[in-house]
Symmetry: C2
Subunit: 346 residues, 2 copies
Amino acid sequence: MDSANLETVRAGNNAPAPAKDVKADVNALVALCADDMADVNALILERMQSDVPTIPALAEHLISAGGKRLRPLLCVAAARLCGSDNQHHHNLSAAVEFIHTATLLHDDVVDSSSLRRGKVAAHLIWGAPSSVLVGDFLFARAFELMVETGNLRALGILSKASAVITQGEVMQLSKAFDLNLTQTDYIEIISAKTAALFSAASESGAVAAGAEEARVQALYDYGLYLGLAFQIRDDVLDYESSAEALGKNAGDDFAEGKSTLPLILAMQATQDEADFWARVIGRREQKAGDFAHAQRLMRGCGALEAARQVAEGYAKAARDALGVFAPGPWREALEALAVYSVERKV
Amino acid sequence: MDSANLETVRAGNNAPAPAKDVKADVNALVALCADDMADVNALILERMQSDVPTIPALAEHLISAGGKRLRPLLCVAAARLCGSDNQHHHNLSAAVEFIHTATLLHDDVVDSSSLRRGKVAAHLIWGAPSSVLVGDFLFARAFELMVETGNLRALGILSKASAVITQGEVMQLSKAFDLNLTQTDYIEIISAKTAALFSAASESGAVAAGAEEARVQALYDYGLYLGLAFQIRDDVLDYESSAEALGKNAGDDFAEGKSTLPLILAMQATQDEADFWARVIGRREQKAGDFAHAQRLMRGCGALEAARQVAEGYAKAARDALGVFAPGPWREALEALAVYSVERKV
């Protein structure tokens, strides 16, 4: 990851909001990718099969619950934007979704989450051991899919991203309940745990299409910035929304003491509430009403709005990265996705 | 896996014990591989590093505790037996050890084991979440190492093995406390959870050396049969030995209701104890003294000896597979390893 670029984007957070000509939209991209994604989804269903019945049952519970399939969409869109006229990116798209699903299964065990994609988390039905092992299975299957492409560069991109993701997650775990985490630490964590797979998805799609280096780099940048915007929006939603709307529990981040941007900004802006933060985050002593109080503080001091603006800065950087491509439906759909990433309600 | 071959070996279990000309020995192989393994160990230490301090700390706890490094040794030996004069197999050897270490970390979480390689299990020091995530990290790093070799066939072998291993582990988990498991089910489980990585290690070593197909197949067969012999011996030791000697708890398999060969054979041979087995395995109701009673039954009915003979059949099949190679120090060392796999005390 290019941390110099990240610094530039951070410094540019006072830039104006995205031009109003692009409307937040994910459906344009979904429509453009429909044919590709029909094949990718068939591949996903085919490759999650196993003679051991627990594996497809558990995997299907999570995979059929939907989710936006954003990462495979990114891989497809990158390949098509780069002019691919074949299906070399299908295996990579399915692999990216398997890697993502594996991390979700392991994350839910790690965080003891009870809800995922609007359904009871898999580890509460099949047990944590099965969730760990089926995650491993999907991860291994992802590599089988990638090896079949014979594209060593794409394999390198996605295996490196997989290692980076786990490092981000361990870092996040070790920094939980930390009163002193900075915005820089936070960006480092989400660059690894979230944005690395977004950028690997779009970069590997470009590589599969045989794109020239400037376009590969542009799609890496787009994925990275989109991933950052997406994760910050996610972290804002965890304080802003309800479990019903999210399909996962609101307030989970607070209960786990996860140092997310809204929390970091609120702790900085409300020094008079230092005792409250020291108790609920520093000493991990939370009681009923604390989450609601934290939400009120965040709204009151403008932390949620400030976090939204940081996300907007990254969404704009993502759009800017697409400048190397001629205007057209694929570029427009990816721009609309960048705007969507910070305006979405779920 | 070739189940027809496995059937043949099973049918041949009444064959005479291995000729006495080959002595059980692992040290001959260790000595032959010393130069290679110095490089492989350096590579292992280098690639388990990360800026996130928990990762090398946790990984080193397990990796520096030693273990026999049997799987990377197999990869090295296969390459050298096939005449390799380079180091292309070093990355694969390190990758194989990382895959193995990742599965150990996850297994100990899955089984809630308290002891591993004579040390407190990592999840009891760093927590199950960190063990899960560091396992994921090592798995991802294994793929990075493999991608660097540029050898797509070896990548395919090891990624397929990784998927097979997890299937074996899920199968084992779903068959725990099962009174009706057969020897065939058991062989299917250990072929996947253990022997698949042994065979992938030796097969990929041969592939890295550019060996002809008959030799690649012979080393796949050798690894498969060695892995089966090795796992059966492991399962016998769990009823025969003490925690002190094993470096992990004796009796763990019994407590977890793991359907291993000694248990399957003992339940078949002691029908008059059906009530005991129904209680401790079928209904999972175990109390103090049950493990000792199970051990006495196993010794008394000859189940431990019978299991040992099955292991010997596989060890002999492993040695036979080496018949395509001319006699020499590498072949002899691998033959001695096969005998060692069933005669070892730890």
